[in-house]
């Protein structure tokens, strides 16, 4: 039997250390620990999350408190990031606005997952007509490049931060559908699926217990990088006036306000944009690390 010769070859091989059983997840965690980028990303992200959550502790000011006589103060003691036209403290507005921006990214990706994952699983598992219809829909959505689909959706629903999140979520969902479909297709032909079916498992049970766990690793990677992309897209919509509306201190909206005063108050534009960049950079570094650790095939 070929397998027994294979096994004996293994035992004869000079293996120095005893082999501990290691799960794929633990392997991934080890790889992730070695990634310097991921560490930097986690550290940066941790600081940012702590700062926006601890906003009331870090600054006693009110993000919406208007002090007209303190308008357009440049960065300095008292107002580290300066003030806007109405004398509102920029640091305070950014800390509170960061909550909105982070949540926007997460909710957008959640929308994309809720739409994309069922589409991908149904398409990959059942195949046939369902597959063709769903993939046709995915193709249609992908014919609108970049932020254009989100713009179409916002044009239909009307401008608001919530609609911007829906728009960004819907326009990101085809990517998730495709990846989940590909993973499902690969998993469906595995022997353990056949075994489960032979044991009389129902299709929903096979999907939930045996197919979906396969999609977790690629979805963690895509979802993490997706939060970064969604934050930029949602901020872009807010910047265009199609997302968060004043006085909501979402970072893109802050930047949009600041743009009119670029000549007199550069800090109103510079700091919110910098905050977006640093946060997105942190998430991207973490995402890159996760991708290398979890799914080297996704490497681009």
């Amino acid at each position: 039997m070929p397998s027994s010769t294979h096994a004996s070859a293994l035992t004869e091989a000079p293996v120095a250390a005893p082999v501990h059983s290691r799960s794929a997840w633990r392997d991934a965690l080890t790889r992730l620990r070695r990634s310097r980028g991921a560490w930097v990303g986690v550290a940066m992200l941790g600081l940012i999350v702590l700062a926006v959550l601890g906003a009331p502790l870090l600054t006693p000011k009110d993000p919406l408190a208007v002090v007209v006589e303190e308008g357009f103060l440049p960065p300095g003691p008292g107002h580290v990031f300066g003030t806007d036209i109405l004398g509102r403290d920029m640091l305070t507005r950014m800390l509170y606005g960061g909550r909105l921006s982070l949540v926007t990214g997460i909710i957008s990706v959640s929308f994309a997952l809720v739409l994309g994952v069922p589409m991908g699983v149904v398409s990959g598992y059942y195949g046939g007509l369902a597959d063709r219809l769903i993939m046709r829909l995915v193709d249609i959505m992908l014919t609108f490049p970049g932020i254009l689909l989100a713009l179409v959706i916002v044009a239909v629903l009307g401008p608001s931060l919530f609609n911007a999140m829906i728009a960004v979520g819907i326009s990101a969902s085809p990517t998730y559908a495709r990846v989940v479909r590909a993973t499902t297709l690969a998993a469906r032909i595995e022997a353990y699926i056949e075994a489960a079916r032979a044991l009389g498992c129902s299709s929903p049970r096979i999907i939930v217990r045996h197919i979906l766990p396969n999609t977790v690793a690629p979805l963690i990677v895509l979802g993490t990088l997706g939060v970064a992309g969604a934050m930029i897209s949602a901020a872009a919509l807010s910047f265009l006036g199609l997302g968060a509306q004043p006085p909501e201190p979402e970072w893109g909206a802050l930047l949009s306000e600041g743009r009119s005063y670029l000549r007199v108050a550069w800090w109103m534009t510079a700091f919110p944009g910098f905050a977006i960049m640093v946060t997105v950079l942190a998430i991207n570094l973490l995402g890159d690390g996760l991708r290398d650790a979890l799914d080297p095939r996704l490497r681009t």
């Binding site: 179409v152 930047l255 000549r263 991207n284």
Partner: protein, 307 residues
């Protein structure tokens, strides 16, 4: 080859039809009565609405309306702006050159910078050049374009006064927008070119070429780059789409009178004929670009033709 091109061309027909369908249905997906949109969202009497409905043909079955819409597209009648009453094709015609100028300049910059950085960092892998180029790339990927554009305006137009702040026309007004748009795209491209070149460098045929004693420059140009560029071209096609949507934002920041600015302004005032027309045109351009990419792809890689 010709057969492949014909087949690929046929495949775009359903795509184009679905785009027109989505753009057509947009108007009907808006909550409420489309007649109210055409009446300008003001307080209108039911009689006025009835007139609008009749004028716009909104009282007919939706299939008839769609076919009517298609036949109007074929004769390039995209309706009139609800506010300026100018034919939309006219508005688009006035602005398309400004957008094309920006897209081409940014695309050229992105390609040159992205390919250069990617190739250099792959060849000197793990050196300081690689680290610097890839740091630039990940920062570029994370940078919101509207922020980069604003900062370029602040530094080079307001502080240094080297370039005009806004508007279109002349090379002078093209530099900053093209820089903003091109730099963001070059970051994505650099990352892809690097991994693509690295993958090819590890192929057995490169080792063979080396052991034959070919000069490095010959190996690089004839064996490595030619193969590495196959995936790169696809992504450059996709990048063109990113560029189109990035242009929406760039044009708004620089107040350039292009298609993107037209679209954003139209969405803000719910000028639906303009919104629909711009989305239609931009999507069609994107489809055309993808077609060109696929054809050039088949030209470069014979395996695709015979699939």
């Amino acid at each position: 080859m010709l057969e492949y091109v014909a087949k690929r061309l046929l495949l775009t027909i359903p795509t184009v039809v679905t785009i027109t369908l989505v753009v057509f249905l947009m108007l009907h997906a808006v909550p409420g009565d489309p007649a109210i949109i055409f009446a300008g969202d003001k307080n209108v009497t039911p009689e006025q609405l009835a007139v609008v409905r009749l004028e716009m043909g909104l009282d007919r079955p939706i299939m008839v309306q769609y076919i009517d819409y298609l036949s109007r597209i074929l004769v390039l009648n995209l309706g009139r702006s609800l506010y300026s009453r100018i034919p939309v094709t006219h508005e688009i015609g006035n602005r398309v050159s400004s957008s094309a100028e920006l897209a081409v300049a940014a695309f050229a910059l992105a390609s040159v910078l992205g390919i250069l950085l990617g190739v250099v960092s792959a060849l000197w892998r793990s050196s300081w050049v690689d680290v610097a180029a890839m740091s630039f790339a990940i920062v570029g990927v994370s940078m919101p374009i509207f922020w980069l554009a604003s900062m370029l305006i602040f530094v080079f137009a307001i502080m240094l006064g080297w370039f005009p702040v806004t508007g279109a026309g002349g090379l002078n007004r093209l530099v900053l927008p093209a820089l903003a748009l091109g730099m963001i795209s070059s970051a994505t491209l650099a990352r892809l070119v690097r991994s693509s070149v690295l993958e090819i460098l590890s192929q057995p045929y490169v080792t063979t070429a080396r052991s034959k004693g070919l000069r490095e420059i010959v190996i690089l140009t004839r064996h490595v780059l030619k193969n590495a560029f196959i995936p790169v071209i696809t992504v450059m096609g996709l990048q063109f789409g990113t560029l189109l949507s990035g242009a929406v934002i760039t044009e708004t920041v620089f107040a350039r009178p292009g298609l993107g600015k037209l679209l954003v302004d139209a969405i803000l005032i719910k000028d639906f004929p303009v919104i629909q027309a711009v989305i239609l045109i931009v999507s069609l351009i994107y489809v055309l670009m993808n077609l060109l990419v696929d054809v050039s792809y088949a030209f470069l890689d014979p395996r695709i033709r015979f699939d």
